[in-house]
């Protein structure tokens, strides 16, 4: 009974933090809520224009806009959640006087907001393409939602692990920050499809779980989309493995992040 009570309270706190986070972002954006959604759309449009200059790179069997939109939505979902988790403790220290709020709540709330923003954004893009083609473009909506959730869980797991380990070894934080912001941007299949990559290069790229997430997501949109070497099991292992590991290290090191033992009820 106490556990259920605590879970309910935590859900309530996360929801309040997510509300505050979202309201603050809307206030900061010059165009309010619309600005929050339009920003990623503009980003995709700019890359689409750049892409048109190199038509040879366009992958077969999928609408180029959908190809870019799915890659960007998932990549930014991943990077924003993970980077927020890594750098999130400084932010959560603003709440040091509100003892009910733990660093994990702040991270979950941030992830929830990113999930909502990029989910809504991708939905808008899907609707736009569907109206343009006068045909619903998502073949397996259930799989697409599940993959969106899996990528979000992976990012939370990676970010939280890097945060806790990085607290003891700061170099880990810097390394993961660079890896997410630089290396993954070019190797996660935002601009290419794994089928267009030469066979000898694929094993190097296939280490990246985000590439698996993005390519599987495209497959959920277009069932004929080719995904050689891509595995759902690999993504599942990363999502639940990283989340499980991060929860374990967080549980053992929470005191490091809040410096005093607090157990508000």
């Amino acid at each position: 009974m106490m556990i259920l009570d605590s879970l309910k309270l935590q859900a309530q706190i996360i929801s309040a933090l997510a509300y505050r986070n979202q309201a603050e972002r809307i206030r900061k954006s010059p165009f309010g809520l619309i600005g929050l959604l339009v920003e990623p759309l503009l980003f995709v449009s700019i890359f689409l224009v750049v892409r048109m200059l190199f038509p040879a790179a366009t992958p077969p069997l999928i609408n180029p806009f959908l190809h870019l939109a799915s890659g960007f939505s998932l990549f930014f979902l991943f990077s924003k959640i993970a980077l927020k988790a890594i750098n999130g403790v400084e932010r959560s220290q603003r709440f040091s006087v509100l003892k009910r709020i733990r660093p994990l709540d702040v991270l979950f709330a941030g992830a929830l907001v990113e999930f909502r923003v990029y989910g809504a954004c991708f939905l808008l893009m899907i609707l736009g393409v569907s109206i343009y083609q006068w045909q619903f473009v998502v073949a397996y909506p259930g799989s697409a939602v599940a993959l969106f959730v899996l990528v979000a869980l992976t990012s939370l797991g990676v970010g939280l692990s890097a945060l806790v380990v990085g607290h003891r070894l700061p170099v880990v934080k810097i390394f993961v920050n660079t890896l997410i912001a630089r290396v993954l941007f070019w190797t996660s299949g935002l601009f290419f499809s794994i089928a267009t990559i030469p066979g000898f290069l694929r094993p190097f790229l296939l280490w990246n779980p985000l590439l698996h997430g993005i390519e599987l997501f495209r497959k959920a949109l277009v069932p004929t989309y080719p995904i050689p070497g891509i595995s759902l099991i690999y993504l599942l292992v990363w999502a639940f493995g990283s989340l499980g590991f991060s929860m374990m290290v967080y549980g053992n090191n929470e005191k490091l992040l809040i410096s005093e033992e607090i157990s508000d009820v």
């Binding site: 929801s15 933090l17 509300y19 603050e24 040091s96 003892k99 009910r100 157990s263 508000d264």
Partner: protein, 253 residues
């Protein structure tokens, strides 16, 4: 007497099997330093149990403030451990963590999600509106754009809107409202209602008017503990200590 009736419902459920009043806050072998690194307290241990009402008096006000801020989480101890096992308020009126970008109503909604029962905030919002008595336009303005007196009023009203197991009282919080002349019977009534049964740690003078009901006293002189423990209903004693320290402060000046 387990003191459970002095706890909020959530904490009461947690300690339902306790026969002794549960420990709400415990400071273990704590050392405190001021902003310049000077040692204020060393190897100090202190516990607050459910229902206890502590009046902390010190000739050096940095000690009392440091202790209160440490319990509130506003200041980190130089050494030692702080264990909080209950629902502890921030020093009334000194609420940090509000968003300057959000309006007062949005801030109440956020705080209601964190501290309200089942995330509701309507009752609290009504109470805060009644206490603050702002012009309607102020409620939708970003908090950082509010005039300072309105901010202080809002922070104190927000502090009184939620129920805690242990209240931390700093008389400095009341000073701005008294200066503005807005401290009314309504404010005093809500304060009395909140503090009626709950545990309290109060510092400084008796501006909250609760010294009569304090059950414990903690008195520091020159960084050393002079009195620590039960004093019964000893308003007169505490007041005499307060007078002594006030006189000493005057002499020091």
């Amino acid at each position: 007497m387990s003191g459970l009736n002095t706890l909020t419902p959530r904490t009461r459920r947690r300690y339902a099997h306790h026969t002794k009043p549960p420990i709400l806050v415990s400071l273990q072998q704590l050392s405190l330093r001021d902003d310049f690194g000077h040692l204020l307290l060393e190897d100090f241990s202190f516990r607050v149990r459910a229902g206890q009402r502590w009046q902390v008096v010190a000739d050096d006000r940095r000690i009392a403030h440091g202790l209160l801020n440490c319990i509130a989480g506003l200041q980190q101890p130089a050494q030692g451990k702080l264990v909080v096992r209950s629902h502890v308020s921030w020093p009334l009126g000194q609420l940090t963590g509000l968003s300057g970008l959000l309006s007062c109503t949005e801030n109440v909604r956020f705080m209601g999600g964190v501290y309200g029962e089942a995330g509701n905030f309507e009752r609290e919002l009504g109470l805060i509106r009644q206490l603050c008595a702002f012009d309607e336009t102020l409620w939708d303005r970003p908090f950082k754009q509010l005039p300072n007196p309105a901010k202080q009023r809002f922070k104190l009203a927000l502090s009184l809107a939620f129920d805690f197991d242990l209240y931390l009282l700093d008389p400095m919080a009341l000073a701005p409202l008294r200066r503005q002349g807005v401290w009314s019977e309504a404010w005093q009534g809500i304060l009395e209602q909140r503090l009626r049964e709950r545990a309290v740690v109060a510092i400084g003078g008796d501006r909250f008017g609760i010294a009569d009901r304090c059950t414990h006293a903690l008195v520091f002189e020159q960084g050393q503990v002079l009195v620590k423990g039960r004093t019964g209903h000893c308003g007169d004693q505490i007041r005499s200590i307060l007078r002594l320290t006030a006189n000493q402060r005057k002499r020091n000046k």
